[in-house]
């Protein structure tokens, strides 16, 4: 990590975020590696400067994708009528999405979205959980690409579902001009509805997931590198505090596992909710 620091610490006049400032300060003190945004933008490994450029984050994403794919392929490689071992786990996993997200939000008509929803949930979950896996230590969703791509996909899918169900005109009308409101209110309501449905939904989806994962990583790095510094390099007086930092690091790791599951669940749930809303008869 130390090798990357000089690149990040080149002083710029537009030091917009406090985090960048921390990075700058951290570079001066070799004893303590403060968490910084540098972690999210590692140098390229392969194909530098092309569209195929591949860095550490992409490697984490690839490993997790292969892990999830392998798990499900092994689980259902030779499905038995009476499930054994890993097939039980696989069925449980798929059933969770089917029952907790599709059946409760979309009802029976949501079954055709099962492949999309299952992929969405386990893709995000795998990317998130990579943040607490040793040696990976970085969530695949802590750079903007995956959250944004998934949010845009959700936007396309829910709008396509609504337009296919109701036709473009009636879909837009029911979204922008909700019935049962005095005509004059539309002056206010329509821009708000447009903004919230067509602009803010993908943005909030993206930022909720991205910010959670970034913050989680920063907290983990803060407590673990802090513990490392306090226990090994700090004055004797400060060393006991290192134990506190270790305990906090442990606590944050557990918390991050919860957040990883929760954020995957929320992202998938909201996507399902948007699709169900777009398809429902009355908005």
């Amino acid at each position: 990590m130390a090798g990357k620091l000089p690149r990040a610490s080149i002083p710029t006049e537009k030091t917009l975020s406090a985090l960048t400032t921390t990075t700058y300060l951290a570079a001066e003190d070799d004893g303590f590696h403060a968490p910084s945004l540098v972690d999210f933008f590692p140098p390229a490994i392969l194909f530098e400067d092309t569209i195929f450029e591949f860095n550490r984050v992409n490697l984490v994403q690839l490993i997790m994708t292969i892990a999830v794919a392998s798990f499900f392929i092994i689980a259902f490689r030779n499905p038995k009528i009476v499930p054994r071992g890993i097939q039980n786990l696989g069925e449980l996993a798929v059933n969770f999405v089917q029952v907790q997200i599709i059946d409760t939000i979309m009802g029976a008509s949501g079954r055709r979205y099962l492949p999309y929803m299952v992929t969405l949930f386990f893709f995000i979950l795998a990317m998130n959980i990579a943040g607490v896996i040793p040696f990976l230590n970085l969530a695949g969703t802590s750079v903007v690409a995956i959250p944004m791509m998934l949010a845009v996909l959700a936007w396309v899918v829910f709008n396509a579902a609504g337009i296919r169900k109701h036709g473009f005109g009636s879909y837009m009308k029911s979204n922008l001009f909700p019935p049962g409101v005095p005509k004059l209110i539309y002056v206010l309501l329509t821009p708000i509805e447009f903004l919230s449905t067509f602009i803010l939904r993908p943005i909030t989806l993206t930022i909720r997931l991205l910010a959670n994962m970034m913050a989680g990583h920063l907290m983990l790095v803060l407590f673990f590198s802090g513990a490392n510094y306090l226990l090994l390099d700090a004055d004797t007086v400060l060393k006991p505090f290192g134990l506190g930092a270790v305990a906090m690091g442990f606590f944050i790791t557990a918390f991050e596992i919860l957040v990883a599951v929760l954020q995957a669940y929320i992202f998938t749930l909201l996507t399902a909710l948007y699709i169900a809303g777009a398809e429902s008869e009355s908005h």
């Binding site: 499905p79 798929v94 992929t119 893709f123 903007v144 690409a145 791509m149």
Partner: protein
């Protein structure tokens, strides 16, 4: 997008603009995973679940069939048991009546045999009695004649003597018959 190459740290709004290569890899991985779920995992799971439902249905149907079969068998056994019981009762009743008829027949036969024996004995007895009576009447007549000759001392007219003897004997018989009746009466009352 300019920051993409060197791993520089983007600032401000650039944090939220992903480099193209990142989007490319994310999309590739998502599509790959989607394809695996869509074409392999979910169809396989659906197949397994369908097979499971079908298996359970078959088992239930089979159990139903077996249950009704067992019930039919049970009913059949019960019927057979009832039949067997009725048969046994019938046989017992038949045996009972047969025994009665056999006994009655045996009794009749015995009675007939006894009657025949009695009859034969009676015939024999009466024949014996007749013979005895003849012997007696001849002997008694001769004896009486001899006695009378001895007493009277002369030969008596044969014809007259015979008549006397016969009268005497018939008197005797009357007396004997009375005695017999009395004897029979005495036996009955005893």
């Amino acid at each position: 997008m300019v920051h993409a190459a060197e791993g520089d740290v983007p600032e401000g709004i650039d944090l939220f603009i992903p480099p193209w290569y990142d989007i490319f890899w994310s999309a590739v991985m998502f599509v790959a995973l989607f394809w695996i779920f869509w074409k392999f995992v979910l169809p396989n799971m659906k197949k397994a679940l369908a097979a499971r439902s079908e298996g359970i249905e078959q088992k239930l149907e089979q159990a139903e069939v077996e249950r009704s079969e067992a019930q039919a068998l049970l009913a059949q056994y019960r019927e057979q048991l009832a039949e067997a019981r009725a048969d046994a009762a019938q046989i017992r009743a038949d045996a009972q009546s047969e025994r009665q008829s056999i006994v009655a027949e045996a009794r009749t036969e015995a009675q007939e045999a006894a009657a025949a024996v009695t009859e034969r004995a009676e015939v024999q007895l009466s024949a014996e009695a007749d013979r005895v009576r003849n012997v007696l009447s001849r002997d008694v007549g001769r004896l009486a004649t001899e006695l009378a000759e001895k007493i009277v001392g002369e030969t008596l007219d044969e014809q007259k003597v015979n008549a006397t003897v016969e009268r005497f004997i018939s008197d005797l018989e009357t007396v004997a018959a009375d005695g017999e009746t009395v004897a029979a009466d005495g036996q009955e009352t005893r």
